[in-house]
């Protein structure tokens, strides 16, 4: 009854208005959904991203922009666009290409407690493009450390940074520096070593940096039996390379002489064996040192003649003064270096063929006579 009292034109406008509103609602919701879909497509497709960098920087160019976390920590939300543009991604990506979930304002709420939680959640963004290297890190001992409950083991952004990513391969010095952020004690040893000092002082392109020996993304523990046994060949990659070693006047015979000697023989067997055992037998770095490795003629070298006995005694506790000379110091036995060994070697080199030829002749003659007598 009351509605009948309303003017007819008002009813028409109300009806038309709600229809338009309904259509608009449908359109807006549909539009949002389609925007979400495109943002999940590969970045290379250069899909029209929701937000432009300018929109992001409206807030994130403020150096004081920060976020307080439930843990009480504060993380900076500032990003210097100039730094990002100089990075390896600078000419390829925009903010929203990586930060896909933050394309709406206000951003969806974060489900993190600590700053580390936040960084560990954000680094997953890298895998959208760098899936292969991301997967490798899952096989690394750093990931094992995380799995064992330590969240501070490095993720992509810890080594590569988030926004100022450079090609680490461009600077070998930078690689060692990167690792030193956590492994500072080892780094200090390394820069003093024959390898590290050459890297620091002359930017030597031949000396190993951390990743040369330890690998890059799938870095393995250096305290396993597998690593220990493989380490011999790892050193040999350079030290058995004649061309490379000649450059520095170092013997490239070291692997061969090692493998022919008592220690190396044993390690050689362990390497071939199907079951992995911890080789008590010394490998290169047990005598020469690991990160603090020195030149073999350095007065502090553990393998220089004066220091060899204490080095031997690490395993052979009761070794006497004569003991170290049992090891031929990577030399092939010769008249000058080890005359007794040399003579023994030559004696058998002469005796064995002589004996074999003599025996075969004796037997052949015997058989021949037997055949003739029949």
């Amino acid at each position: 009854m009351r509605s009948a009292n309303w003017p007819r034109w008002l009813l028409v406008w109300l009806a038309m208005g709600s229809l338009v509103l309904a259509v608009l609602l449908v359109l807006v919701r549909g539009g949002l959904a389609s925007a979400g879909q495109t943002s999940e497509a590969p970045v290379s497709a250069q899909a029209p991203a929701g937000m432009s960098d300018d929109e992001c920087l409206r807030c994130h160019s403020d150096p004081n922009a920060s976020l307080s976390l439930p843990s009480g920590e504060t993380i900076s939300l500032y990003s210097d666009p100039a730094v990002f543009r100089r990075s390896v991604h600078g000419d390829k990506l925009n903010c929203a290409d990586c930060h896909v979930r933050n394309q709406t304002v206000p951003h969806p709420s974060l489900n993190v407690v600590t700053a580390r939680d936040f960084h560990r959640a954000e680094y997953e963004l890298c895998k959208r493009c760098h899936f292969e290297n991301y997967t490798r890190t899952l096989d690394s001992m750093h990931f094992d450390v995380v799995a064992a409950g330590n969240p501070f083991a490095p993720v992509c952004t810890d080594c590569h940074t988030a926004h100022s990513v450079t090609r680490l391969t461009e600077s070998r010095v930078q690689i060692a520096k990167t690792c030193s952020q956590c492994h500072s004690t080892i780094y200090n040893d390394y820069v003093e070593s024959v390898h590290g000092s050459a890297l620091q002082s002359e930017g030597n392109p031949d000396v190993p940096v951390c990743t040369t020996c330890h690998g890059v993304h799938n870095i393995q523990s250096a305290t396993t039996a597998t690593f220990r046994l493989a380490s011999v060949d790892m050193c040999a990659q350079c030290h058995a390379n004649k061309e490379l070693m000649d450059k520095y006047g170092i013997s490239s015979n070291v692997l061969k002489t090692y493998l022919n000697d008592f220690h190396g023989k044993t390690v050689g067997f362990y390497q071939k064996q199907s079951s992995q055992v911890w080789a008590e037998t010394p490998v290169c770095f047990d005598c020469h040192g690991v990160h603090n490795i020195t030149r073999v003629d350095d007065p502090n070298s553990p393998v220089i003649k004066e220091n060899l006995l204490p080095t031997c005694r690490q395993c052979h506790a009761d070794a006497g003064a004569n003991f170290p000379s049992a090891w031929l110091s990577h030399y092939e036995p010769s008249l000058q270096k080890a005359p007794i060994v040399f003579f023994v070697k030559e004696y058998y080199r002469f005796l064995i063929p002589l004996m074999i030829v003599g025996l075969i002749m004796h037997i052949s003659l015997d058989l021949w006579r037997l055949a003739r007598n029949r």
Partner: protein, 294 residues
């Protein structure tokens, strides 16, 4: 001892034995090795084979069969343990042998083992043998207890035992050894152990195997080191001088054909053993002769 001396009483005269047909000598035998010698040799075969099987994969690690063997035997640690135990057994065997020789020569006053010492005749025999092989001589030389080749075989093994046992102990106890000797000795022993092993295996697998087992007269297998016996007929061919001496000096034994095998462990020097029915047949043969003579 007592039993042995009694047993070695002339029950068959040299003439009676000479009258036996060749076929009868197939059934008679010479006890060439006593129980000690047989035990020594068995210890040696066992430990030597174990040493070869565990040693060669260590010498030739790049050969696939050796790698396979190494894995099958439980890896280098197990292989080395077995190698060292076998080495210990062989060293013990060597000491046992030396004690046995010393006891025989010094206490029992028997010169038997001394016949192994090389002499001028061995050189002449070797030359004669080669001449015979080449057709320059019609007869091979006549051998006594040990032929020159057997002596060579024995001394090669003797020398090999000293080198292998010595060098093995040196590389097993390097810290101890370098207390007295220069360090180089360790590497020299390491080298010698490896090379001498090759020599020993070549020697055993060529000379010993051929002359003891594969030579046409004994083919395919000569069991005398296990039984201690060599058929008298073959003995007469191979060691004619010793055989004649045994027969002449009456070191002959006649035993019941189905009785236990004499003689006991301590028989040294050797005797020729005839089954008793051979004695009976010769006795009648010999017995007839005087009658015809009379």
């Amino acid at each position: 001892m007592q039993a042995t001396r009694e047993a070695v009483s002339p029950t068959l005269s040299a003439e009676a034995i000479a009258a036996l047909p060749d076929e009868a000598l197939e059934e008679a035998y010479v006890v060439r090795f006593d129980a000690h010698q047989r035990i020594q040799h068995m210890l040696m075969i066992g430990s030597f084979l174990a040493l070869v099987v565990t040693g060669f994969p260590q010498k030739f690690p790049s050969i696939e069969v050796c790698q396979w063997l190494m894995d099958v035997m439980g890896g280098i640690q197990t292989v080395r343990l077995v190698h060292r135990i076998a080495g210990g057994i062989l060293i013990f065997d060597g000491i046992y042998h030396m004690a046995y020789i010393s006891f025989t020569v010094l206490v029992l006053q028997r010169i038997g083992p001394l016949q192994m010492i090389p002499n001028v005749k061995d050189v002449k025999d070797a030359v004669r043998t080669v001449q015979y092989f080449l057709g320059m001589s019609l007869q091979p030389p006549k051998h006594s207890r040990f032929t020159y080749l057997e002596k060579f075989d024995y001394w090669a093994v003797f020398w090999g035992m000293v080198v292998m046992g010595g060098s093995g102990l040196i590389i097993l106890f390097p810290v101890l050894v370098t207390r007295l000797l220069p360090g180089q000795i360790i590497m020299a022993a390491f080298r010698a152990h490896s090379d001498e092993a090759l020599l020993a295996v070549t020697w055993i697998s060529v000379v010993h195997l051929f002359y003891v087992h594969l030579a046409p007269r004994v083919f395919p297998f000569n069991p005398s080191i296990f039984s201690g016996r060599v058929p008298a007929r073959r003995y007469r061919e191979e060691h004619p001088l010793e055989y004649a001496q045994l027969v002449e000096s009456g070191k002959v034994l006649v035993v019941p054909a189905d009785g236990p095998t004499p003689p006991g462990p301590a028989v040294n020097p050797p005797v020729v053993v005839f089954p008793d029915y051979l004695q009976a047949s010769t006795a009648s043969a010999v017995g007839e002769e005087p009658e015809s003579d009379a």
